[in-house]
Amino acid sequence: MALRSISRRFGSRVLSYRSSSLASLHSHATSFGFQQVKEEEKSKLVGNVFTNVASSYDIMNDVMSGGLHRLWKERLVGKLSPFAGMKHLDVAGGTGDVAFRIFDAVNSVKRRALRKVDEDSLEETQIYVCDINPNMLNVGKQRAAERGLGDNKSLVWVEGDAEALSFDDNSMDGYTIAFGIRNVTHIEKALAEAYRVLKRGGRFLCLELSHVDIPVFKDVYDLYSFKVIPNLGELIAGDRESYQYLVESVRRFPPQEKFATMIADAGFEKVEYENLVGGVVAIHSAIKL
């Protein structure tokens, strides 16, 4: 599958969305895939899903996306343009994929060679990986140890909730959330928290499975999602329900434009999104000013 990207800024349809967005937000908070659940329960149900999938999360990602998820994450980190001395927060980044890439980008040999000595850049880069699920974090810590980064002070693993972060206001240069915002009960709270912890000029980047509109491809994608993926889940991870939840939750998540409006409502500026693989995945980016 070729990687196609369409970058668009979108028209201000805030008004028409305001009345329908409240309804859809409520529906996101009470939907667990295609099932209806109580708001209080959603968090627990999602927690169960990830406890179950944690150990085979990475393998399943590779199988489901044909290895493409790596390219998507590279693109995300490329867009972020990490710099030395950065304070970055990766939310729902349990197994550390994005965090490791950022770490590598900042510490690559090429970068170090080109770095001019500046008082400010002598500050240590700090990458915080926050996840609500301790099992996912453990997998991440293990992978860090395997790479020899077990004791590295730059990577900090924190257990926390995206809707109620334990970080200070205006403390982060960057905030990323890759394939995580879909699982949050109250999206607008997560966005508000993102806005709160970012410094002025800080960037918000969200990589998420999104909606496909292209006629024939949409049907192929639906077929793949509902027929192939749950079977793969059963075969490889021994857990059909979790992967059923996954594909259903993708359909329930707001489409690109609506999500972009929500980001703007949280106070962000220069909200843009880029579709990858025709909309299967979208990267939304914004700046806090």
């Binding site: 001019k116 002025r200 000029g201 800080g202």
Partner: protein
């Protein structure tokens, strides 16, 4: 034509991003948060954007509390970008036209260096900002009474090009890098447009009234002279502040004007020949028409 376009574009301070917004009419392309309605910046297209305060009272009331929080003026992205780039220019002689310079600039302004990641074609953004600024400075110099009256056209052109090139002197050590950035295929459309505007502005100031093929020829030739001088300047070590460069410039401009004269002469020559050939062709056609009409007249007499 270009000058008013230049004014309109540069008035807001940044050419490239404005160019993205130019094809109108089109609905607003950037989302402007509801709480940020009083825009202090001029925005020609943005007027049709949201003004939810009036039209959606219930929603506005609900989120009214957030409006109170945002009493501090929210800077628009373009403004911030311009501020960061302006501050970055000070670091260019030391750090080059690079992300490092922009990161240093953003720190000066008090904004997180992450914002640099969002500039399109990062280093090119800095170079293009500089080119826009220089053009604006040139226009300002001209408007604030530059004395061109006593000079013949070729000398006027020389003077204007010299003023413009002198603005690059502080960055001369890193200018080759800027040129290579401008030459990247991705950046060529914008850099070409900026140079075209510059050349147009210079001709406009010199007092150019041509509107035919001449218009293109003049701008192309001046573009060539400007680029040649710019490159010559890169390796000029002459003692008195680039004296050799200015001599080179004067010579090239004179050549260009001579070339113009020769082209003009060649055109007149071609016209004369054309007229001669045309007359004989016309005579032939007239003869043919007459013959046909008389023959036709005879046949209709029946």
């Amino acid at each position: 034509m270009y000058r008013t376009a230049a004014r309109r574009l540069l008035g807001a301070g940044f050419t490239t991003s404005r160019l993205l917004r130019l094809p109108k009419p089109r609905p607003t392309t950037t989302i402007i948060p509801y709480s940020y309605c009083t825009s202090s910046m001029e925005s020609p297209i943005g007027n049709q954007s949201v003004n939810p305060n009036q039209s959606d009272p219930t929603a506005a009331r609900e989120e009214g509390h957030r409006r109170d929080e945002s009493r501090k003026p929210r800077a628009e992205f373009q403004e911030e970008q311009a501020r960061v780039l302006a501050a970055s220019l000070r670091h260019v002689p030391r750090l080059g036209w690079t992300e490092e310079a922009m990161i240093a600039g953003s720190r000066e302004v008090g904004v997180s260096p992450s914002i640099v990641g969002s500039f399109s074609r990062k280093e090119a953004a800095l170079v293009e900002y500089f080119m826009d600024e220089c053009l604006q400075l040139l226009i300002d110099r001209v408007d604030s009474g530059l004395d061109l009256q006593n000079l013949i056209p070729s000398e006027r052109v020389s003077k204007l090009v010299r003023i413009r090139l002198e603005m690059q002197i502080p960055y001369m050590s890193k200018w080759p890098q800027a040129l290579s950035i401008q030459a990247h295929p991705v950046n060529v459309p914008t850099s070409f447009k900026q140079r075209a505007m510059l050349v147009d502005e210079i001709w406009h100031t010199v007092g150019d009234g041509a509107s035919d093929l001449d218009w293109y020829v003049k701008r192309t030739v001046l573009g060539g002279v400007y680029s040649a001088t710019e490159i010559y300047m890169l390796t000029d070590d002459s003692p008195a502040e680039y004296r050799d460069t200015w001599a080179f410039l004067d010579d090239r401009v004179k050549d260009a004007f001579d070339l113009k004269k020769s082209i003009q002469e060649a055109k007149y020559f071609a016209q004369d020949i054309g007229a001669g050939v045309g007359k004989s062709f016309q005579g032939l056609m007239n003869g043919v028409m007459q013959t046909m009409s008389t023959r036709g007249g005879r046949s209709s007499a029946f």
